[in-house]
Symmetry: C2
Subunit: 159 residues, 2 copies
């Protein structure tokens, strides 16, 4: 039974991806968030239709679930994605504190369809100075002062 | 002159972070997006105030700039962040195709203020089976069919 549920949730994620291809509303990716056997968030890629480079299926499903559940902490939830998450979405999955990630196609399958996931994973593994987007550090001292202030703040909401 | 501009933009990102600590509206992080010497997007962390685990300063600044410029492609832009981006935000910076990233505090500074950036970077470097969030592959064949359909679609908007 549990195994059938997993197939149902993944089929839903894949259907969202498929609908996106048919409607030309963004890339071929879908995701659902599940808690206690119920779907609590859905997302399909909306990068091109919304002019939003962050609008991947997983990001949208996470935001949807967090709104519905009224919390930024999705512990106890699972995410089903039609494709192995890119680094942005994998990072989001950590911040959201999911219990488990299910995925269908791989990042190499995505690369074959001309999506950069594999390339970005490779960039992450390089030392900063060898990456294609140059990064420069500056004014560290001023920024660390803000962290010091945060550490001393008593009524903050940590996360 | 150019050097002064960079300091101005980073000071703005750090000010956004500082204001966030004072207003208790989210974590101590700010970011700005710059194009042709003008600020075209701003963001401050809103995770706790919006119940959105993806609402990091950089993500919000990217979405803001993309809306203002009417494109998902931020080539020709630079991003200034008060802190070294976490993996989610670094992924977003790649998808947005920034020319250059400027940052102030490091991920280890963030860790000292109890933010998980360093931990998540370490998880990325581990083989999947050793990561703290378990990932399981299933139904790859069905998902790859959607990619095949995407590849054949003629009126798609690639990105």
């Amino acid at each position: 039974m549990e195994k059938e549920d997993k197939k149902f949730f993944m089929a839903k994620a894949i259907t969202l991806a498929k609908e996106n291809v048919q409607s030309v509303h963004g890339g071929p990716f879908g995701a659902v968030v599940v808690k206690d056997g119920e779907i609590v968030g859905v997302g399909r890629n909306r990068v091109t239709v919304d002019n939003d480079p962050t609008a991947h299926a997983e990001i949208i499903a996470i935001r949807d679930a967090a709104q519905k559940l009224g919390t930024f902490d999705l512990s106890g939830c699972q995410i089903y994605s039609s494709c192995e998450p890119c680094p942005m979405c994998l990072g989001a999955i950590y911040w959201a504190r999911f219990d488990k990630l299910y995925y269908a196609a791989t990042k190499d399958d995505a690369a074959k369809a001309d999506f950069d996931d594999s390339f970005i994973y490779k960039e992450f593994a390089l030392p900063k100075e060898e990456r294609s987007i140059l990064s420069v550090q500056m004014m560290r001292e001023s920024a660390v002062k803000v962290f010091d202030e945060w550490i001393k703040t008593e009524n903050k909401i940590p996360y």
